[in-house]
């Protein structure tokens, strides 16, 4: 592409406090790139179009890349770095990534829903490409050569004859205060050197050698330690509390009481723990019978009112033929992060700084501002990594605790660490759901009619509002949780993946949204997709059996998306589906889903061995196939899929929250066991289909649903009996 030299390309603008450069668009740019959706900019550029919000280059050629997304352990920090490094053509170690900070990074909402690559990755890709393009033009201008005569390596241009200039030298301390246009040419996949290659994650080194890596590791000068004493249940009332004795304990700096919110601040961590134990003993609560218990969760789900929201109405009713119906259920389940949530907050000169592992620093800031009754500009939320959250766990709540206690004890950083029992009992939990499916098989062995209803309360009670913060609901002037709202399709909440990806000429799908639930519910990795894919894929197997068809062939019969067909065939092939028969006590199961019907494709085949007498299910081997569009970090994808399969196996084989009429009973790993090493698969393979040039597709949650269904299908074959209620735990399998 030839650019006429010096043709009015540059205009110097004086920006806010620093010199910035603004560029007019060169008409040639209007051609390529620019994956505009609905006329908007690609990815998060739509919300944050300024290039220097994403990329800044120092005079010494150091590059800082900003993302509004957060590293949750899913490797996104590294993957985004790869995207930027690729398009900027700098070595990855030249780049410093700054993530989710309300003072420094774009606002990209929550790091959730497997959106990070689609939103931030896409934005960074286009922004970086544009920065490179602009700088290339500048270098060409400086050396009076064509752009195409320049070579670029690690942020340094070289012209024929050996003249060189770096990015940093070109900009000389100024930043590109220019709006993105999404039109700069992207580097073709064929020449990629960084993106698409396995790049070692930047964070693992510190994690294996005891470096500072987590919110839990933060140590700030003058930091004090706090613990909160929670009510025995959300409905409990605080009748009395003797604070004086606790205040006299060694190390205690302050005991806080605000309504039924109780906390203790101490100069040492274990002293805070002990003082909190004492404070808990010193409190008298009345604990009413406010919960329905978990003896029969499906019945309780059924009994709770629901609002019918149709989300699909296709064709007409065709119920001539063999009709099957089935009900599938999911219990209450936990995120159960291995590291209970932690936050540090400090109030200095009217400014709050909160170090948090919240998935959404900007929405959190809004909620904190409302809770504290201050202007949100007085609050800065900085993301620091926590342990895996798998959705909306206690991260925001503990940030609220820290902010409140910082207000009670201003000047010094206050660290709040949730205890294990606190995280288990108070995190927003994964909702119990119920699915009713009904289908009719035509004479041609295809599904002629499909009717499906999923009942669920809200999967999204993330802050935004103070009422979404646990502490705020316990204050003397409590905030009320806003009513949970459904998430509209195509994302969906309880109805995520409720619409099958199969070709169904006549289909009706209803989301029965429940406005109320006995406990606070929110997003748990894949939201409704876990239960819906479990139900749909179990039902597909039951239909296949009724149609006397092989489960894989039956699915292929109903798929028309070639990418879906490819993953199904790949998984089946690599597994050896149809070759040989499983041995005694063994069974094989298959499942497929496209996450949200628009993100990554995942097919999974697995083999289990079931011991009916003990109820023990052993996963012998599992083979997955995944298509997530153009792959940035193949190892990262594998890691997420493997992890999702094993986590989903844990949910599916072991996990359910239990509570009686008064209190939660699953409060530690003894009462809420999760998968241990003896029950992980004997073998686990993940096969990836790379689609260079295709958009990045969210992958982090793609295997939760398929794993549950493949397990249920395999167990059904091994045990000779179909179980439709999760979890398939030992007690259930013994009595099945």
């Amino acid at each position: 592409m030839n650019a006429p030299a010096n043709s009015g390309r540059r205009r110097l603008l004086v920006g806010v406090g620093s010199l910035t450069l603004a560029f007019s668009l060169h008409p040639a740019w209007a051609q390529e790139g620019g994956k505009k959706k609905d006329g908007g900019l690609p990815g998060s550029l739509e919300k944050e179009p300024w290039l220097d919000a994403w990329i800044r280059i120092d005079a010494n050629n150091a590059v800082t890349v900003f993302t509004g997304k957060a590293e949750l352990g899913q490797g996104i920090r590294t993957a985004l770095l790869q995207v930027a490094a690729e398009e900027l053509q700098v070595n990855p170690d030249r780049i410093r990534m700054v993530t989710a900070d309300t003072a420094r990074t774009p606002n990209e909402g929550y790091t959730a829903g497997s959106h990070s690559m689609q939103d931030s990755g896409t934005a960074l890709r286009h922004a970086a490409a544009q920065v490179r393009f602009i700088l290339s033009g500048m270098a060409a201008g400086r050396f009076q050569v064509a752009d195409s005569a320049l070579t670029l390596r690690d942020g340094v241009f070289e012209a024929p004859g050996g003249r060189r200039v770096s990015y940093g030298e070109l900009l000389a301390g100024r930043q590109l205060h220019l709006k993105a246009d999404g039109k700069a040419p992207l580097r073709p996949r064929a020449v990629h050197t960084v993106s698409g290659k396995p790049l070692r994650r930047t964070d693992i080194l510190a994690k294996v050698s005891g470096g500072i890596a987590y919110a839990q590791d933060l140590r700030l000068p003058g930091m004090v330690h706090a613990r909160v004493v929670r009510p025995p249940s959300q409905a409990s009332r605080l009748e009395s509390v003797d604070i004086a004795t606790v205040a006299r304990q060694p190390g205690v700096l302050k005991v806080v009481r605000d309504g039924r919110y109780l906390a203790v601040i101490a100069d040492g961590e274990y002293r805070a723990v002990k003082a909190a134990t004492l404070l808990a003993r010193a409190a008298r609560w009345s604990v009413p019978a406010s919960l329905p218990g978990t003896r029969d969760v499906p019945a309780e789900v059924r009994a709770r009112p629901a609002e019918a929201m149709p989300i699909l109405k296709r064709g007409s009713m065709q119920q001539d033929g063999r009709t099957l119906s089935a009900t599938y259920t999911r219990p209450w389940q936990l995120h159960a992060s291995i590291g209970p949530s932690c936050a540090v907050a400090q109030l200095v000169d009217g400014q709050y700084t909160v170090w948090t592992h919240s998935q959404g620093v900007y929405p959190l800031r809004e909620a904190l501002a409302e809770m504290l009754g201050v202007d949100k500009d007085t609050i800065r939320c900085i993301h620091v990594e926590g342990s895996g959250c798998y959705g909306h766990n206690g991260a925001d709540d503990v940030a609220a605790d820290a902010a409140l206690l910082a207000r009670s004890y201003p000047g010094r950083p206050v660290r709040v660490q949730w205890m294990r029992e606190e995280e288990h009992a108070w995190e927003p939990i994964g909702p119990a759901m119920l699915v009713e499916a009904r289908a009719t098989l035509g004479v041609d062995g295809r599904i002629a009619d499909w009717e499906y209803a999923v009942t669920s309360p809200s999967h999204n009670n993330r802050p935004g509002k103070a009422g979404n913060l646990l502490a705020a609901t316990h204050l003397a002037k409590p905030f009320t949780p806003p009513p949970g709202k459904p998430i509209p399709q195509p994302e969906g909440g309880g109805d995520r993946n409720a619409i099958p990806y199969y070709v169904l000429p006549n289909a009706r799908v209803t989301h029965r949204f429940q406005h109320n639930a006995p406990l606070r519910t929110s997003a748990l990795r894949s939201l409704g997709a876990y239960c819906n894919v479990f139900a749909i894929e179990s039902f597909m197997d039951e239909l296949a059996q009724a149609a006397h068809a092989d489960p894989v062939a039956f699915r292929l019969r109903h798929l028309d998306d070639p990418r879906a067909i490819d993953v199904v065939k790949l998984a089946a092939n690599k597994f050896g589906w149809g070759r040989g028969k499983p041995g005694p006590r063994r069974g094989r199961g298959f499942a497929f889903a496209r996450y949200k019907n628009l993100a990554a494709y995942c097919a999974l085949a697995l083999e289990v061995e079931v011991a009916r007498e003990t109820g023990f299910v052993r996963i012998v081997r599992a083979v997955a196939a995944v298509d997530c569009g153009e792959i940035v970090n193949p190892d990262g994808v594998r890691n997420q899929i493997e992890g999702g399969i094993i986590q989903s196996a844990s949910w599916t084989l072991l996990e359910q929250v239990r509570f009686d009429e008064r209190q939660i009973q699953t409060v530690d790993w003894a009462s809420y066991p999760i998968l241990r090493f003896n029950q992980v698969p004997g073998q686990l393979e993940v096969h990836l289909i790379d689609r260079p040039g295709e958009p990045f597709l969210g992958t982090g949650e793609a295997s939760q649903g398929p794993a549950a269904a493949a397990l249920a299908n395999a167990v059904a074959q091994a045990a000779g009996v179909r179980v439709r209620d999760l979890p398939l735990d030992r007690a259930r399998m013994r009595n099945a």
Partner: protein
Amino acid sequence: MSYELQVNGKRHRVDTDADTPLLYVLRNELGLNGAKFGCGLGQCGACTVTLDGAPVMSCIVPVSVVGARKIGTVEGLGTATQPGVLQQAFIDEQAAQCGYCIAGMIMRAQALLDQHPAPSDEQIRRHMMPNLCRCGTHMRILRAVRRAADTLKAQDGGGRS
């Protein structure tokens, strides 16, 4: 009260209450981040360190019972620039997602390799059971331990009788 502790071959003197779990002493008094608070109940192993070579849950070890016994933490196996065999194996296998459980896993595995330099896959699985991973990184963790065992075996070159 004052306690003298042997950690990773070095002597430290700390001042803390007798019932303070070793976990908090390591993290807060000695600034060692490896061992983590996961449950405080001895159920998850995120706090695993070694005591005279045996794996223990440091969240239930009161500092006052340690005495002269040798404490080993992940920091004692190597550094970010010079990782030990196990740490390198975890890096090579990229055996981490959130990584919170990993330091505990490494110490648990270290204790195994110190006692049984050539464990079978089944032995590794059984040995690691007290440690939980919520992200589902188990397969990689097993591969990392296997890799470290194989590396150690190759280093020995069969020289041991």
